[in-house]
Amino acid sequence: MRYYADLMLGILRNCVAREMMFRASFVMSLISGYGWSLVMLLFLSTVVARVQALGSWEQRDIYVLVGTFMCVQGITQCLFETNMWRIGSYVREGTLDFILTKPVDSQFFVSARYLRLSALGLLLPGVGLVVTGARGPFIWSDTLLYVGGTLAGIAILYAVSFVLAASTIWFVRAEMGGLVYGLFDVMRLPADVYPKALRITFTYVVPLVFIASVPAQTLQHRGSPLVALAGMGLAVVALVFARAFWFFALKSYSSTGS
């Protein structure tokens, strides 16, 4: 464990130095990180302003939903985004060979080698939106379930991104990791706008509703604690599945490049 902590510290130092080389781009990345989330906030707010409520979601619930997703997105982008993109190039260029021979867990290395620190800028407006939209009274159990649910959302988003990125071992040039960007819009939506078939898919097959929608409902005292707990259980299942998927995919890796 100590070994991995030291490794993370080294990675952090290296990434800070890298990002500081291009300071202007770092600042722009910081600002642009807000872009897509604020765009979705603008969209949902405009729609809700014209129809008063979207299903059972009012304006302030939308703030909590988008704010929660911004926090999840900020942390996952900081920790994993660059890495997910690079998995495709490791496979295409054959450099995955070198990673597999390093004295380190291969899933850890391909998932954590690079940090995108500018993405953490999303946390500030994200928390701000959650605080603005949160409904009183303050209830400890709901808040704890919200924090747990959000952490579970981060784990689920990592697992989904990782499985998509790892599938490039079969679809070498497909850039499957890019699909996550499309799915971001799905995750940012209130669960009840989906038709029944899609809602079932995004709850039980690819559990995207647990990433932001379920935690946001919990904080607004509208969700069932059991559903929030189910989200945490699903996060564990998703992580185990992602790990099994990685080793399964590695069996098909045939060192295409180098």
């Binding site: 781009s25 722009m28 642009s32 897509w36 809700v48 014209r50 497909a174 799905v186 706008v193």
Partner: protein, 278 residues
Amino acid sequence: MSADLASARPGLGLRKYWSAAIFSAQDAFAYRATAIVWMLVDFIPSVVMILVWQAAYRTQDQVEGYSLNDMVTYYLLTGIIAGALTSHAEFTMNWEIRDGRLTPQLTRPISYPLLVMCKETGWLVAKASVGLPIFALLVFLFRGYVVVPHLTPLGWLGFVLAFVLAYLILSLIGACLGCLSLWTIESSGVFELWWSLGGVLSGGLLPLELLPSALRQVAFAMPHRWGSYFPVRVLLGKVPVSEIYEGVLTQLGWVVALSLILLILWRLGTRKYEGWGG
């Protein structure tokens, strides 16, 4: 076969650019899974927005003159047209400048920005081709809502012109953005910011009539709306024929202005370029 195609037409100095576009399209078709993935990424937001509007229209029939059917058709058309027109020359230029791959290109008898734009065009053709079946599937799924365009022959001609000019505008914007990397080396943050704002200003997020008034004024002053938004509105029949041609002239004006901006940025930028990496 590729050599035959590449040496076909047009002739003169444009042949090398034509070849670049053809090779890029062949490459994209050979690895069509990538094009499918990116077309899906372009369509998912449109579908998501349709689902939100379906939920919103449960309580009313019209929003700013748009019925639910108009709205569904608007987002489906925006998905296919924006997906087919939006090239990302800026990311290619940024990558080549950052890695020093631009340096050998500068010694060749070509216009580098034009070459990148042509390569992107080849990629877009492949992307649009794989996008059509996805679009057809979505039209089938939302068949109860889709409004079939009814345009006069002049309206159709106006649409074709608007479509081609929209492509030029979006390509030139991409190339102008790409030139920024000549100064900053790494500009992907600027691009992301530009395109997230562009999603709003180009009508990809909402029909511009629905934007808050201050934002709407900004959108009407910027070139974005002459990208996918204008051709989509023409196809929806929301622009009278006379206004279509006024719009086409405005698009032409933007093409000229952006070409000049590109020329200036490229000349100034290459003087500043230091040739990192390589």
